[in-house]
Amino acid sequence: MSDFRGQPSSLAAVRAKIAAIEAHARADCGVLTFGDGRIDGCLPGGGLPLGRWHEIGGVGMEVETAAAPAAFTALMAAPLARQGEVVWVFRRDDLWAPGLAGLGFPPERLIQVCARDEAEALSVMEDALATVGVAAVVGEVEAADLTAGRRLQLACEKRGSTGFLIRRRPFGGNPRREATGSAAATRWRVASAPSEPPPDEFGLGAPRFSVALERCRGGRTGAWLMEAAQAYDLEDTHGTHPLRLVAELGDRQLAPTLPLRRAG
């Protein structure tokens, strides 16, 4: 342990060891790449890990409406929807399928479930995640505590389906204290960003989102400006990820990591 930071190979070895311990029984379900190294490089394995669950939150008034997180989640889940059904669980029934269809999400693969309360929404998510033929489950809940998160994780591991948890207060009121710890693989915060149509065009451009990856197990955090380039476009562009990275955002980045000072 003379110079721990100086030996990247041993660091990588330790990381691999930890990852092996963490994923002792977990089958490797692969990743979903964004197709851009700037974001894939932050994520463990080079893409959004599948067979895990991810947390997506909003900003400001979006804590209640959760429109940008829903649009962003639909865009992330769209490639998964080609492999199986997507179950979307919510308490407030205002998700509108034509909007999702416009973003490129196949609405014929979407099953909507309206739960009566928070606990029911979580248990429906769990049930759906553990079902054969369900590729992804999206749940709109206020918060998942450590126990609920762990249960979601176990359900994800059963069949390798991917969960997306949109943090939302469906009926207004003061937001509950955010859970400090979480079993989520990644945590995102999504807000709408001003669109930039081509200079000679009138109206709005393709929807843009400013996306912050606030927490990432086995990866790094980051912030980006992303665009749903294929939204409201009839051309079928299978293969490419519906989200395109426009720019990296500096202002959302965490404080730059300073080299540690040796004690003594």
Partner: protein
């Protein structure tokens, strides 16, 4: 004027009869105890009794105000014959303290006649109802008031006398309806009964020597009765979408419970599993003695062969269908759905709810090239303090939910009119239009708002509404 609507056996013995004036009755029997007639409660009690009778036969028809028809074709063997079945019915009705009369015959008309005018508990031999109703008075044929009065006036006292009249003169003299009644009683014409639940051949029943009440026993008998019915369904290559189990308690109450399946099925274990979590809502009271199970929406199912080439890909039957069943039975049928396109310009009507595993509809899919919001509010929310440069321009600033939004970019208007061809033509107004704008505020929030009404209409000034958010 107050009249007696019903009398019990004791009052009848004293010479009182229904329809008598209450004052006359009081004069005859000063100590007469009367109660207000409650026709609604009587009807409800009859319905409850009809439900109770499901333990004998699934086909029970109410004959208001005071009768029940049970179609026992094909079920009497469960009791070892019609007479034994009638005996069981009589014992149970008597145990419940109900005054009753009953009879069994080939036709509802004959059974009705024998019950009301014949010997109580008659079992007419097949084809033998003619002889049995011949000596009965003509009222036994369920005739209407004037016809019965006319027959009375002509001095006809027996059904046999009516039977001897030739059909032509009979119909001319007493009307077609009377002839129909006679034919129905004799089985020359079939009679349609409106059963409380449609007659259903998919019916299974288990009776217990000792009443049960333990939850695990109820779970076991529901599995047993499901296995019994599903064996028959499987044999005929059929599956059902809906199963209704009914627990009949000792005290005569019937406790129903039903489940639905997303795809027709006949897997007894799965059906029992869906019943299991809801059995606790059943109060067994002093015990349950009979359990019945009815399969509804029965349709043929083709046993699909497992495809070898897609061994890894899950079939709907093993994964999705059980999930949908679990969710619909736990949350309710209206809480699990798949959005289906409906051909309508009005945004809130453009999405219908389809059953999750139903085949896709014929309707054209939504146009993907016109931007539509991710979230649509069920009721548009009012937008205040809207500023626009000219009347038809998109707003430059608006306030929604207490927050002022400065519009940076906008698209529109997209005019959506009412569907005038669907409503009453008098209600159609030229001003029933919405001009939708898609706007983006300085922070990037994208909104879908519309102006209802037209400028220049002093009676109804245009109003701005927020209908959805794109995110």
């Amino acid at each position: 004027m107050r009249r007696l609507s019903a009398v019990d056996a004791g009052a009848a013995a004293l010479g009182l009869r229904p329809g008598q004036k209450a004052t006359d009755a009081m004069a005859l029997v000063p100590e007469l105890a009367t109660e207000e007639a409650e026709p609604e409660a009587d009807a409800a009690a009859l319905t409850a009794l009809a439900d109770w009778c499901v333990r004998f036969s699934p086909a029970v028809a109410e004959d208001a105000p005071d009768g029940l028809f049970l179609d026992i074709a094909g079920v009497s063997h469960l009791w070892g014959g019609e007479a034994a079945m009638l005996g069981d019915l009589q014992t149970r009705l008597a145990a419940n303290g109900l005054p009753f009369r009953c009879a069994i015959a080939d036709t509802p008309g004959a059974a009705w006649a024998l019950t009301r005018f014949g010997v109580d508990g008659t079992v007419a031999a097949p084809g033998g109802q003619g002889e049995l109703i011949a000596p009965l008075p003509p009222q036994a044929l369920r005739l209407d008031e004037p016809t019965a009065a006319q027959i009375e006036r002509l001095g006809l006292r027996r059904v046999s006398q009516l039977m001897s009249i030739a059909r032509g003169p009979f119909a001319r003299r007493f009307g077609r309806a009377a002839l129909t009644r006679l034919d129905q009683a004799l089985g020359r014409e079939s009679e349609g009964l409106s059963f409380r639940r449609p007659p259903n051949p998919w019916f299974a029943r288990l009776a217990f020597a000792e009443p049960i009440s333990a939850p695990e026993d109820m779970a076991r008998v529901s599995a047993d009765v499901a296995a019994k019915l599903c064996a028959r369904l499987e044999l005929e290559g059929r599956g059902a979408r809906r199963f209704e189990i009914c627990f009949h308690r000792l005290d005569g109450k019937a406790m129903p419970l039903s489940i639905g399946l997303a795809l027709p099925g006949h897997d007894a274990r799965r059906i029992a599993k869906l019943f299991a979590p809801r059995l606790e809502t059943i109060d067994p009271g002093f015990g349950i003695e009979v359990v019945t199970l009815i399969a509804q929406d029965v349709e043929p199912i083709s046993a699909r062969q497992a495809r070898l080439d897609t061994a890894r890909e899950a079939t709907v039957e093993e994964g999705l269908a059980p999930l949908v069943d679990r969710l619909t039975n736990r949350l309710g049928e209206d809480r699990v759905w798949r959005a289906a396109p409906v051909e309508s310009h009005v945004p809130e009507l453009a999405v219908g709810r389809a059953r999750p595993l139903a085949p896709p509809t014929e309707a054209r899919a939504w146009d993907r090239s016109t931007p539509r919001p991710t979230r649509l509010f069920r009721r548009p929310e009012p937008v205040e303090a809207v500023m626009a440069l000219t009347p038809d321009d998109p707003p430059t600033q608006f306030r929604w939910r207490g927050q002022v939004h400065r519009v940076r970019r906008a698209e529109g208007p997209e005019r959506i009119g009412e569907e005038w061809w669907k409503g009453v033509i008098e209600d159609v107004r030229i001003g029933h239009v919405r001009d939708y704008y898609r706007v983006e505020d300085a922070d990037g929030g994208r909104f879908w708002l519309f102006r209802a009404g037209l400028y220049g209409d002093p009676a109804a000034p245009p109003q701005w509404w927020m209908h959805g958010v794109f995110g």
